[in-house]
Every structure is written in structure tokens, then in C-alpha cells.
């Protein structure tokens, strides 16, 4: 085709901030905060991994509407029940998480099962993507992730014709992830996507944010980011990815199936049984704003659900 129309979240050539400039700005305004946030991470940071020299490939269409959330908020206000149910718990508790050595196994309905160390995985080409993140609890953030499309990882293992779904699993380590000793959820945490959702270009495997390596409380060393779904779908600290024939069980759905569906697409029309999903508060804002269908990514992902009743498949 002669003309290529960029989607709303795709950054234009001229919008891409050169990384050097980005870093110098960060040094001016955010250096202190970034250093503070990273001070909490327990693993040794080598010089290469400390910052990512990568282009920004996607950002919100209207930067004024979606300003990037301060890194301090994104690293101190977390849901990561492996480290307690309080929002501030993970920032402190996740210091105990060991992110090296770390391996991810990809198996199931694939031609070439793969087990790969995190440092080998970090060698793939990375990009920065600024995504909205909408929590099922009614708050949201805008986060600049560093990562690569999940599809690239899945293509490497060559899914067979039987593969219809992708199951994800978080590390199981009750000694360090002391929340796993509680019965708030069934551990280890599990999540899942339909294969076409997983192959969608917006689905990202993130290894960093705000130009730095991923802080432990945000799901180090590697996590999923699915921006059009509620935040709990974006599973943290992933160790296993399994391609399956049938829909895999997922942690929140197992815990309360009426409240948390397998799809869990952001949908202002379908309330959580206990609260409205029509509005959200962007962390740091005073007033609430309207929640957008598919978290504002409808142009790109709505076609995945053509013909589906999204009230039934919530």
C-alpha cells in the first residue's frame, strides 16, 4: 500500500525523543527520584543494563491528556500481592526478590520449546512504549515501559496448530515472596491470553521502565504489559509461558470468577459487581476522568472481539 496510516498510539518520527536528550532531561528533573527508586532494587546493576538506549515507538496520541506518571508514584503504589496486599508493601518487600539467576521456560504446544536466561533475553532489540495502565480498582497511570513485543518471543518457539491460548506463571518462592504464604490467592499467580491477543503488536514483555531496568516491585526482571486490559492481567516476574489448546485458569478468575473474567478488557460499560468502572482517577489527579473502552486502544484491538458479547465475556 502506498499510504500507511499510523494508529493512535504509534509515535510519529518527529515525536521520538532522542535518548540522549531524554536522559539529560531526566538528569535535570527526575534523576534524584530515579536513583531513589533504583536504590531499592537488590540485584547488582551492571553499566550496560542500567539504562536502555532505545527509541520510543508508541506514546499516547494526546500527551497533554496522558502525562507520564511520576516514577515515585509508579514505584510506591503497586499491587503485587506476593509482597502483601497494601499498596506500599511491594516497594519495601520486593527488595527480597532475587532476579538473578532467572530463566523463562516456554513450552506446551510449540515446535521449539525454549528455556532462556534473562540476560540472554535482554539482548533482543528493545523499544520504549508509553502506555496507559488502568487498574480494575479504578485508578490509572501512564508508564514508559522498555521491552519487546510478546509476539517476537512466541514466534521463536513456533506455536503449533493446536496452540489457542497462552498461559503465564509468576515465580513461586514463598520464602522471599512471603505473600504466597497467605491464602488471598492461589499461588503461583497465573494469567492467560488468547493466542491472537498475545500475538497482538500492543502486547509487550517489559524488562524496564522510565529508561531503567524494571524495579522489583514492578515485576522484575520481566513482566507482561497488556494495555487494553485491567492491570492484573499484566502478570509480573514471569518464569513460565505455556501455549495451550484450552483456556488456562487465571489467578483472579479462580478466586472470584463472577468479578474477574478471563478477558478483563477495560470496559466502562461493564461494572465490577461491587463498583462502577465508568470512571477512574489518574494517580496524582484530583478529579476522576471517564474510562475509555479498551483503555483507549479500541482502534487497534476491538477487532479481536468482533461478534463477542463483551458483557458475557467480561
Amino acid at each position: 500500500m502506498l499510504f500507511k496510516f499510523p494508529t493512535a498510539s504509534q509515535a510519529r518520527e518527529d515525536e521520538v525523543t532522542p535518548h540522549g536528550l531524554y536522559l539529560s532531561r531526566r538528569a535535570l528533573i527526575g534523576g534524584g527520584a530515579a536513583a531513589l527508586a533504583l536504590g531499592g532494587t537488590a540485584f547488582p546493576l551492571d553499566a550496560r543494563a542500567a539504562t536502555f538506549q532505545v527509541p520510543t515507538t508508541r506514546k499516547p496520541a494526546d500527551a497533554a491528556l496522558d502525562t507520564v506518571t511520576p516514577i515515585k508514584s509508579a514505584t510506591t503504589y503497586n499491587n503485587f500481592y506476593e509482597f502483601g496486599t497494601g499498596k506500599a508493601d511491594p516497594a519495601d518487600g520486593a527488595k527480597a526478590l532475587r532476579t538473578r539467576p532467572w530463566e523463562i521456560t516456554i513450552d506446551g504446544e510449540v515446535a521449539k520449546p525454549l528455556t532462556i536466561g534473562i540476560d540472554d533475553l535482554l539482548k533482543v532489540s528493545m523499544e520504549e512504549r508509553i502506555y496507559r495502565l488502568r487498574c480494575v480498582e479504578g485508578w490509572s497511570m501512564v508508564i514508559p515501559w522498555i521491552g519487546f513485543p510478546l509476539a517476537e518471543l512466541l514466534k521463536r518457539v513456533e506455536p503449533t496448530g493446536n496452540a489457542k491460548f497462552v498461559a503465564f506463571q509468576t515465580l513461586m518462592d514463598p520464602e522471599r515472596m512471603y505473600g504466597q504464604k497467605s491464602w488471598v490467592l492461589e499461588w503461583p499467580y497465573t494469567e492467560g491470553l488468547r493466542l491472537d491477543e498475545a500475538m497482538h503488536p500492543l502486547a509487550l514483555m517489559a524488562v524496564g521502565m522510565y529508561g531503567e531496568i524494571l524495579p522489583n516491585q514492578n515485576g522484575a526482571p520481566i513482566r507482561l504489559v497488556v494495555p487494553w486490559k485491567y492491570g492484573f492481567k499484566s502478570i509480573k516476574s514471569v518464569v513460565k509461558i505455556t501455549l495451550t489448546k484450552t483456556q488456562p485458569p487465571t489467578a483472579w478468575n479462580r478466586s472470584q470468577p463472577r468479578e474477574y473474567g478471563f478477558y478483563s478488557n477495560v470496559n466502562p460499560e461493564v461494572d465490577h459487581p461491587r463498583w462502577s468502572q465508568a470512571t477512574e482517577r489518574r494517580v496524582g489527579d484530583f478529579s476522576r476522568r471517564k474510562t475509555l473502552p479498551f483503555n483507549g486502544y479500541g482502534d487497534e484491538v476491538a477487532s479481536l472481539y468482533t461478534g463477542m458479547d463483551l458483557r458475557v465475556n467480561y
Binding site: 499498596k87 485508578w139 488471598v184 461491587r274
Partner: protein, 215 residues
């Protein structure tokens, strides 16, 4: 020991000191909000903190009578009304922060939420009970209602307490520990009132008999 404690609690400074202490959570939360230390979501955090303190003061007020019976420190009864009113005060702050900060006076949304969300319906119910109890907390109202009717009405405090705990349990994601602990404490205090423990010491048991100034 018991005599010292009684004397201390009967001193003229005891009530002002307890009053000032009961305001510490409010002052502390406002201070944290002012200095930007209330976390990334200061609005939700203030709603949460005021709600928690309402529950805590309610439980403390409810614990005073069993505590007085167990320890024989009769002067504890002096603080029951004040601490109960502090429970109402923090519940009011909780409601006001929800209405004014979280929802920003969006009356349509608030009305819909009260009717549609059982946890908010229950929370509002508990608040209505607390309001009725606060309104009838004066000596004059005790006289006007008569001791028997006043007591019957004020047994509603347990309903408010259980309602508050249920409200807490229903709003969190998953089966979390904290609301279950509050619920168990409230149910335990209710059970103590229904089936008071028999204590062997006759001097202690005597304090069980209701005295007019306990009201």
C-alpha cells in the same frame, strides 16, 4: 495498681488528654497529606484512614465495658461516650472525604453507588445508626428517652460495628486478613456482652451492676 489507675483516670486532666490523643490520627493524616507523604493516591488514602479509625474507635468504645469488668477499673466508663463520639466523628470524616474528595460531590454517582453497591449501602446504614446514637448521646436525651429505651437503641452500636466490618470486608479484593480481624474482634465483643464471663472476685462482679453515671 487498680486504685492508681482509677485515680489517674478520674483526674481532671484525663479527659482532655484522651480527647487530644483521639485527634492524633486526624492531625497526622492531614500533616502527611500536606507534606505529600500520603502516598501516590492521597485521596483514597484519607478515605481509607478515616474509615479505619472510625472502626478502631468503635471497637475501643465497645471494649471499655468488658475491660472495666475484667480489670475492675471503674473509671474507664467515663470515656465511653467520648470515644463512641470519636467513632462517629471519624465515620463523618470518612463519608465527607468520599463525597467531597473521591467523588467530588457528584451526587448522581453517589446516589447510584449507595443504591447499587451493597458495601456502600451497608456502610451508609452503619453511618445512619451512628448518627442516631450520636444525636441521642447527651444526658438530656437519656432522660427524655428513658433508660430502658435508650439502652435498647444504643445496642444498635453492635449493628453499626458489624456493618462497618462487613463494609470493609466487601470492598477489598480477595479474602484479606485485616477486615476479618476487625470482624472477629467486633463479634467477640458482642459475644462477651451476650455471655459475660463470670468472675470469681465479688468486688469485681459488683461493678457489673449498672450505675446511672455509666449511661
Amino acid at each position: 495498681m487498680r486504685a492508681t489507675l482509677n485515680a489517674l483516670l478520674l483526674s481532671r486532666w484525663a479527659k482532655p488528654v484522651v480527647f487530644a490523643l483521639a485527634l492524633v490520627p486526624l492531625v497526622w493524616t492531614v500533616w502527611l497529606a500536606w507534606t505529600g507523604e500520603l502516598g501516590a493516591e492521597p485521596i483514597l488514602e484519607s478515605v481509607k484512614q478515616s474509615g479505619l479509625w472510625a472502626l478502631r474507635f468503635l471497637l475501643i468504645a465497645l471494649a471499655l465495658t468488658p475491660l472495666r469488668v475484667f480489670t475492675g477499673v471503674a473509671a474507664l466508663a467515663r470515656f465511653r461516650r467520648m470515644l463512641g463520639l470519636f467513632a462517629f466523628f471519624y465515620a463523618s470524616v470518612h463519608l465527607l472525604t468520599y463525597v467531597g474528595l473521591d467523588q467530588f460531590f457528584d451526587w448522581h454517582a453517589i446516589g447510584t453507588e449507595i443504591l447499587k453497591r451493597p458495601y456502600i449501602t451497608i456502610g451508609m446504614g452503619a453511618f445512619v445508626i451512628l448518627t442516631a446514637l450520636a444525636a441521642t448521646s447527651t444526658d438530656g436525651m437519656v432522660k427524655r428517652l428513658g433508660g430502658k429505651r435508650w439502652r435498647a437503641l444504643h445496642r444498635g452500636v453492635f449493628l453499626a460495628g458489624l456493618g462497618g466490618c462487613l463494609h470493609f470486608l466487601m470492598l477489598v479484593k480477595g479474602w484479606q486478613t485485616a477486615p476479618l480481624v476487625y470482624g472477629a474482634l467486633c463479634a467477640g465483643l458482642l459475644a462477651l456482652r451476650r455471655w459475660p464471663l463470670r468472675l470469681p472476685n465479688p468486688r469485681t462482679v459488683r461493678t457489673l451492676a449498672p450505675k446511672p453515671q455509666d449511661g
